[in-house]
């Protein structure tokens, strides 16, 4: 009873996959429409485990989708919209062909279907947390487009929508103090916020004209932007309502036109809004937006004296802290996390959150910041406000919405400056004074004059402060000072990897320091020329480095001394061992060490006999290094040998697996060794420069 022979391609893996061409045919849409559909629905190609089986023996490069995915697409309402769109497009095309542009406009206005993606949002992200998890790309993309000029592919409306949504999101982050970390990279500024337990990381470009080369398809980007705007809109709605705010917030177009950016939005609490809603369309009397803005500002800061006599600075700060909104009121002692200290040094240390969110949220709360006009206002404003600073002022040319545009305002506690210090001050000061002569209040113009009691810092101070959740000493970041290196807050140092925060000696394996020192000598001359400037850039970060931690070698000096003596003799013993050429080197050192010990003993005996005191020849630094290095080399070699021996007994499969694992490890090790080597070199160069 032979069963009926089955036709090829009717069962098994073939049925699970469908090529792109077949999928397009099945859905009866064009390829660009298929692409849009895939982007909206989040459908991506799959890689079959066995390509040959799926493609009926052919091995040509093909894109495969899951048949099920495509099957679901068949019932997608968007598909009908696409077809409708196509029909209308045909009609419009016909009208245009007849030269009936009025007809075409009417058709476009009335018949063109609008595509709504809310059901897809709901489908792709069944829970709100799912949506938050996927917000990284959405935010990065929208922040980019908020900074792009409008073009043929990107209508101004879309750009405006991107700007609106991103600023609304920023407002949420500010009000909820959700921002955790930020990082100034060469690509742009990274921000990380934690919303409902989800870490959201996004990248905002620096405000320059973006280069949009030829091979960028803005239609694809546009489709993504369309989806992401919908997503972020609904996310914003949910976030705002969760805070009890009205969404969308009131938008002040005039302020926006004057570069108000964040200040163009006015958040409203829900209660008022619902009152208004019940009355149908609310009728707002036409208000002067400037007056409104001032009124709001005054309302927000009840205690700041605008007239500007700078006497009660301390009090003012205190009151300001007190006036920080009700979120900070959770001061009950039961809520805080207790600090667990290990009692014994050998115990593991579990990570604990260092600062409570409330503490972090009020990091900059007591300060009044002023941004000089060369600083990136938007990012600084966002960060400062997100970390509790309510009073951020800036130069008038940076746009609308500043707390103050008067640089000489005595309320200002910190001024952020990104200008080099002037080398010759005196004449400039005169000019400043003559200028300020006619003004009523003295206009403070850094660097011509400084306000007493005001802290001048560079922008990096803000970023380093928030990343470490504490206020760093501002003198390290003084204008014109060499800044400490700006480090990424996301790198978690793992075992064996290089960590720039730790002193070099703490992370070097045994014997490496000496090795570096030796080969440093050789390269020293060449190196000096290259990195003369760079070594100035090294500034130790205060607090993170324990300076007193000595070299590992220096710790056990007493043991070392004896060995050193042996080893210095060892150098003499080497030529003696020369005749055994091709010796195993560990054998050599064994022999020579034994020999050295014997000689030493002999010498001691002789000294005893003659009654003289045996004087120990102090070995030079280089010899010491060589000796230490040799010792560790030997140890390492022994370990390697042992490992090699173990590897011999592995099965082929396991050996290959081990090889793969070791490949990654070795790569990481060499990388970190490279970094350590460079740092050792830099440190040496710096020490040399200091000595001079």
């Amino acid at each position: 009873m032979a069963g009926r022979s089955q036709k090829k391609g009717t069962s098994g893996a073939v049925r699970n996959y469908i090529t792109r061409t077949r999928a397009v045919k099945k859905l009866q849409i064009s390829l660009p429409d298929f692409r849009r559909l895939c982007i909206f629905k989040g459908i991506y190609p799959r890689e079959p485990r066995n390509k040959k089986k799926v493609s009926k023996g052919s091995t040509a490069a093909t894109t495969f989708y899951y048949t099920k995915d495509i099957q679901y697409l068949l019932h997608e309402p968007l598909l009908a919209k696409f077809r409708e769109h196509k029909a209308v497009a045909k009609k419009i095309g016909r009208a245009l062909g007849r030269g009936e542009s009025g007809d075409a406009a009417r058709l476009e206005k009335t018949l063109m279907p609008t595509i709504r993606l809310d059901h897809i949002i709901k489908e792709r992200y069944p829970t709100f947390v799912d949506a938050l998890r996927d917000l990284d790309d959405a935010l990065s993309m929208l922040f980019l487009f908020a900074h792009l000029p409008s073009s043929q592919h990107m209508p101004a409306k879309t750009i405006a929508l991107c700007q609106r949504l991103t600023r609304e999101f920023e407002h949420y982050v500010i009000t909820s103090h959700a921002l955790r970390k930020s990082f100034l990279s060469i690509k742009g500024i990274y921000y990380q916020a934690t919303v409902q337990g989800q870490d959201i990381l996004w990248l905002v470009p620096y405000r320059f004209v973006q280069r949009t080369g030829g091979d960028i398809d803005f239609r694809i980007m546009g489709t993504f932007v369309e989806f992401y705007t919908t997503l972020l809109g609904f996310v914003n709605y949910r976030l705002y309502t969760s805070l009890g705010l009205v969404y969308p917030p009131k938008f002040n177009a005039q302020s926006d036109a004057q570069g108000g950016e964040l200040a163009a939005f006015q958040l409203q609490a829900k209660a008022n809004a619902t009152d208004g809603e019940t009355n149908g369309h609310r009728e707002h009397p036409p208000i002067n937006p400037d007056a409104q803005a001032i009124a709001d500002r005054v309302g927000a800061m009840p205690d700041v004296d605008v007239d500007g006599d700078g006497d009660g600075d301390g009090e003012k700060d205190a009151t300001a802290v007190a006036a920080i909104p009700a979120e900070d009121d959770q001061d009950e002692p039961t809520d805080e996390i207790d600090k667990f200290e290990p009692t014994a040094p050998d115990a593991d240390v579990l990570p604990q959150p260092q600062a409570s969110s409330a503490e972090v949220a009020s990091l900059f709360a007591p300060f009044t910041m002023y941004l000089s006009r060369e600083t990136p206002r938007a990012s600084l404003e966002f960060i400062l406000k997100a970390f509790g600073c309510k009073r951020v002022g800036w130069d008038g040319i940076l746009g609308d919405g500043a707390f103050t545009t008067n640089e000489s305002d005595p309320a200002i506690t910190h001024q952020i400056i990104d200008r080099p210090a002037l080398s010759n001050r005196a004449p400039a000061q005169d000019v400043a004074e003559t200028e300020s002569g006619d003004a009523a209040a003295p206009t403070v113009q850094w660097p011509y004059s400084t306000m007493p009691g005001r802290t001048y810092v560079q922008p990096q101070w803000v970023w380093d402060c928030i990343n470490q959740s504490k206020l760093l000493p501002p003198h390290l970041y003084a204008p014109g000072a060499e800044l400490p290196p700006h480090l990424s807050p996301w790198v978690k140092p793992s075992k064996g990897e290089y960590d720039p925060n730790l002193p070099l000696e703490a992370q070097q394996p045994d014997g490496e320091a000496e090795a570096f020192e030796d080969d440093g000598d050789e390269e020293d001359a060449a190196f000096h020329a290259d990195r003369g400037e760079d070594m100035h850039a090294i500034v130790d970060r205060e607090g993170s480095v324990e300076v007193g931690e000595g070299m590992h070698v220096a710790d056990d000096d007493e043991d070392e001394e004896d060995e050193d003596v042996d080893d210095s003799d060892d150098a003499n013993a080497v030529p003696a061992a020369e005749e055994f050429d091709g010796f195993d080197s560990d054998a050599e050192s064994d022999v020579s060490e034994g020999e050295a010990a014997r000689r030493q003993h002999q010498r001691e005996l002789e000294a005893e006999a003659t009654g003289k005191k045996l004087e120990i020849a102090k070995p030079t630094k280089k010899e010491q290094n060589a000796a230490i290095r040799k010792k560790f080399d030997k140890k390492r070699r022994e370990e390697e040998e042992e490992r090699e021996r173990q590897k011999m007994m592995l099965s082929n499969k396991k050996r290959k697996l081990l090889k793969r694992i070791e490949y990654g490890e070795n790569k990481r090790d060499t990388e970190s060794e490279q970094l350590r080597r460079k740092r050792a070199r830099l440190e040496k160069a710096r020490a040399a420069a200091e000595a001079v």
Binding site: Y44, K122, F224, F234, R238, D418, H486, F580, E665
Partner: protein
């Protein structure tokens, strides 16, 4: 064609030429003005002739020209006939150069090609004048379609107002003024045309056909497709025959129906329908769709109002997040993260796809100096491509501690003793050392090498105590001490000779005596007891010829020489020391020979051997003999004379074998870098295959006296020492542990360690290297 005869007439005039040339030569004046040669003069005369012809044949030129041409001809005729003095004049007048090569011969033609296209003469005022030759329109250039344009140049015509010509052509002929239209018009005006004249003839009358004005008008209309009739209006005003105008007297007297006075029920129904729809909101008044409110309405509800978590679907793979930036991405990174020049160059040179990082770390000492990132949009675009185009695969990260993979081996300290270091180096051999053997007492080491010497060394000191040159051209390939302690005999093989040696200078007299007795016992045995085979087949050559090697060697201690048929490579003793086996891979049937010392007898145990024999060995306890060919190892029972077992190590080329002293295990070294352990009880396939050498394995050897050690020697210059413990329990397999790699021998022309041997008691071994040294490892 009428030209030709005249031309010929003119040209063929050889008579006056010589006189011309002579005259020219004679005339000094001419020489000064015209630096022309004899030929040139001839040419000139020819040219004159042709110009005449041309002038005559030119049809376009006017009468004046013709006249002048005729004059020229006349003049020239005179010149030709008259004396030389008139030649100058001719030159001045003649305007044409010769270009028709009709009368000239080939040489002349060629010369002409080389000459410039003009000749220099003087004009009437005595200035130089360039006379251009006419271009010959040869067959390949057709200028018939060239328009005849004015050739008078850019000269205002008003200068010629009072002349009949308007300029000159290239030949200097006058171009006559063309006839003007005025003359024609005047002529036409003078002719009178009768009224209605058409120029046609009436076919009926045969008289000229004249048409009247009316007739002409009709014709004109017909040609214009108009109605011929006069006063016809194609678009008359509409006359309203039927109108809505109420007549005074209606056609019907019927009264107006009632329905004309009551409101329509049907209409009210329809209106009510609409009213209802409006009330219900089904119909809404038209409002132009505002764009503003549309947007505002977009996000006005909570999509996640009733959220329900979806169960995890294994098929769904969420898009991986981009990794957060590292230290090197900082605008002001620690200086050690900055690339140096070489790294930077390498990054720049690399292809964009091959770069490990997509950016080059850079340091800016202030935030204001940070420029925009060039490929920001591109990176974002690539990310979006990845999101919708890249297939996603779930990869299991290997989170295995590599240490856990490595097997737990017994501590090498527990496996001690084994050789670890080189204790002594034996120098003095020239060329490669091919074989080495330690005597059963463990005092001496015998070695043989390429220099044809057999040398004996003291094991502990490395001092050479005895040597003998066995062969001048052959290398000593095998050396083996007889394994018994009562006598001290070395068997050595060089070429086709096997020597049995008693190095008596090293021995105590009684041992020496015993050794000599062992060897001498067999003398004459063959003669006294001739083998049975000789009876039947009388002249058959014995496989081995036992003899004395000669006094020189005998004085050294080399007592017996055995000559076999082909070069011996391997010598192995039986444990009792009465037999030894030699293997000479070249000799097919005589490859393996067993020699009996007590009888001075050589036997060939195999009539025919499958494959090429590589090595042979006696079983340490039983009467079993192992023969290794290239691929297989066969064991024969010597007593029953039958094949016991065929082992198949799966090797391509076996180099050496050794049998464990217990007799149940066997190790095989191969030239294809493998070391194989055979358990004879288990299978004919290897129990373990070890591949730790990078080059061929030349020798393998078990420790002879019960220490669980074995070693192999390889061409990569190293020895590997293994722990190989064989337990008596049949249920337990042998444990093999690699112990030590001993390096020290130098590789010499791709040969490293040639041979090795163990000390009979101690965990020491001696290796023979291709670098000409022996090494003692302990």
């Amino acid at each position: 064609m009428s030209v030709n005869p005249r031309k010929r007439k003119v040209v063929t005039r050889p008579a006056p030429e010589p006189s011309d040339s002579e005259g020219e030569l004679a005339d000094g004046l001419l020489e000064g003005i015209l630096s022309h040669s004899e030929d040139e003069a001839a040419d000139d005369s020819d040219a004159d002739a042709s110009s005449v012809i041309e002038g005559l044949s030119d049809e376009e030129q006017g009468d004046d020209d013709e006249d002048s041409d005729e004059e020229h001809i006349r003049e020239e005729m005179q010149n030709l006939n008259t004396s030389d003095s008139s030649l100058r004049e001719t030159k001045g007048i003649s305007t044409h150069d010769m270009d028709m090569g009709t009368g000239a011969d080939g040489d002349l033609d060629e010369d002409e090609h080389l000459k410039p296209n003009y000749t220099v003469t003087t004009d009437a005022h005595g200035n130089t004048r360039y006379l251009y030759r006419e271009i010959d329109p040869v067959y390949d250039s057709d200028d018939s379609d060239v328009e005849a344009t004015n050739t008078i140049g850019n000269i205002d015509l008003k200068y010629y107002d009072e002349y009949p010509h308007i300029g000159y052509d290239i030949n200097g002929k006058k171009i006559m003024r063309p006839a003007k239209g005025e003359a024609l018009d005047a002529l036409l005006d003078s002719i009178d045309i009768p009224k209605g004249w058409t120029g046609l003839t009436d076919p009926q009358t045969g008289k000229p056909l004249n048409l009247s004005e009316e007739e002409l008008d009709v014709l004109k209309r017909l040609t214009r497709n108009e109605v011929v009739e006069d006063g016809y209006d194609p678009y008359p005003d509409m006359v309203a025959y039927f109108s809505g105008k109420q007549e005074v007297m209606p056609l019907s007297a019927a009264p107006e129906p009632k329905r004309r006075f009551v409101p329509s029920k049907h209409e009210s129904k329809r209106v009510m329908k609409i009213v209802k729809a409006i009330r219900e909101g089904r119909i809404q008044p038209y409002r132009p769709p505002g764009e503003q409110d549309e947007e505002q309405d977009a996000f006005n509800f909570d999509v996640w109002a009733d959220e329900k978590p979806r169960p995890d679907n294994t098929m769904h793979i969420p898009a991986p997040k981009l990794p957060p930036p590292g230290y090197e991405a900082s605008y002001h990174p620690p200086p050690e993260y900055l690339p140096d020049k070489a790294e930077e160059q390498a990054w720049l040179d690399a292809d964009e796809e091959d770069r490990e990082k997509e950016f080059l770390p850079k340091n800016y000492d202030a935030l204001r100096k940070v420029p925009g990132y060039e490929t920001f949009v591109k990176e974002r675009f690539e990310r979006s491509l990845d999101l919708y185009l890249a297939p996603r695969i779930r990869r299991n990260r290997l989170n295995i501690d590599p240490e856990s993979l490595l097997p737990k081996l017994p501590n090498p300290e527990d496996l001690k003793p084994f050789p670890t270091t080189c204790a002594a180096l034996f120098r003095g051999q020239e060329g490669r050392v091919r074989c080495v053997s330690i005597d059963p007492q463990g005092i001496f080491v015998a070695s043989g090498g390429d220099d044809g010497y057999i040398r004996i060394w003291e094991l502990l000191t490395g001092r050479q105590v005895w040597n003998a040159k066995l062969s001048d051209e052959e290398a000593v390939d095998a050396v083996q001490w007889r394994p018994t302690k009562d006598a001290s005999i070395v068997a050595a093989a060089a070429g086709e000779h096997v020597y049995l040696i008693v190095p008596f200078t090293l021995l105590s007299p009684d041992v020496e005596q015993a050794s000599r007795e062992v060897l001498d016992a067999g003398w004459g045995y063959a003669a006294s007891k001739p083998s049975t085979t000789t009876n039947g087949e009388a002249p058959k050559q014995a496989p081995g010829k036992w003899s004395r090697p000669g006094t020189l060697l005998e004085n050294k201690g080399v007592l017996v020489q055995i000559e076999v048929r082909s070069a011996v490579k391997i010598v192995n003793w039986h444990r009792r020391g009465d037999y030894f086996a030699t293997v000479s891979p070249r000799g097919q049937s005589t490859a393996v020979a067993i020699h009996t010392v007590s009888k001075h007898l050589t036997q060939l145990p195999f009539r025919r051997l499958k494959g090429i024999a590589q090595t042979a060995q006696f079983h340490p306890s039983k009467a079993i003999f192992f023969v290794a060919t290239r691929n297989t190892i066969r064991s024969y029972d010597l007593a029953k004379q039958e094949l016991v077992k065929i082992l198949q190590p799966g090797a391509k080329w076996i180099s050496s074998i050794d049998v464990h002293p217990g007799g149940d295990n066997l190790i095989v070294g191969t030239y294809d870098k493998r070391l194989l352990w055979h358990d004879l009880d288990l299978s004919n396939k290897p129990y373990k295959t070890l591949r730790f050498h990078k080059e061929a394995i030349r020798a393998v050897r078990f420790h002879p006296a019960g220490l669980p050690l074995f070693a192999d020697a390889s061409d990569d210059g190293s020895l590997q020492i293994f722990h190989g413990n064989v337990v008596g329990d049949l249920m337990q397999n042998a444990t093999i542990v690699p112990l030590k790699v001993l390096r020290g021998h130098k590789i010499n022309s791709r040969l490293g360690v040639m041979h090795l041997d163990w000390h009979p008691r101690e965990p020491w071994c001696v290796s023979a290297g291709a670098d000409g040294t022996l090494r003692l490892w302990c």
